[in-house]
Symmetry: C2
Subunit: 143 residues, 2 copies
């Protein structure tokens, strides 16, 4: 992987407000949904907040296999990251993503039992650009 | 489902140049990639062209479970459709999507053995809008 590709991958991810988060549903079908990229550590770890009662949190509790995808539609470049999602409800994870005003979504505040954090850890990735694809390991990119 | 929602779903799909096409890879992980929406019949059937030798065609040959997702990032509305993908290499499918100049991708022309058509048939869907989601069957929408 070239230095130019590494930079392009990090730029695409950091420039994306949303990630398309993909799970496997209870009937074995892939399921996609855009989620707000609340926080990330390079391309290795990403955190999303959602309702603990949500269908998606249920899917990931049952099957942690996940993919998150970032698309720059204008340049037709995409980055997919494959790994696992862990559903976290511990205080550390709750505090990490909590912002003033989130009571709008979770009326009981940071300890609302319906508030949870999806923690995605990437293992491998694929960079799609100009009809090409470049497979990479997360260790190659760092970030 | 309201008439307004039906219209919004069709509008979002028809206004999208690309679909995020999701498969399940050989290791059981979901896999997402943007593909050009080459042709569709309402929200029931969609066709995409790709290389027969592509990783994705291989995934769908082995596991037809699929999801395609359309996102309007500006309004944060999304439509996911769940169903099956069939990998077609018959002459009818080849001709249907072929355009002058596609020799750029498939040098041997419309009968190039590396040219194939992914035919997605939707069974059920989910419309994400303003924090809500509305499950629907494809029969409800028609189009």
């Amino acid at each position: 992987m070239t230095e130019q590709d590494k930079k392009a991958i990090l730029h695409l991810v950091e420039g994306s407000r949303d990630a398309i988060v993909c799970s496997i549903d209870d009937e074995g079908f892939p399921a996609a949904k855009a989620m707000f990229r609340a926080k990330n550590d390079g391309i290795r770890t990403f955190w999303f907040s959602t309702n603990a009662s949500s269908i998606r949190a249920g899917y990931f509790s049952a099957r942690p296999q996940a993919c998150i995808y970032f698309l720059d539609a204008a340049t037709v470049k995409g980055v997919s990251l494959t790994g696992h999602i862990r559903v976290r409800t511990d205080a550390e994870a709750r505090q990490m993503l909590w912002h003033d005003g989130d009571e709008k979504y979770y009326p009981k505040g940071v300890s609302d039992p319906d508030y949870c954090v999806l923690e995605f850890t990437a293992e491998r990735g694929n960079y799609y650009h100009a009809g090409n694809k470049t497979l990479f390991s997360v260790d190659e990119i760092g970030g």
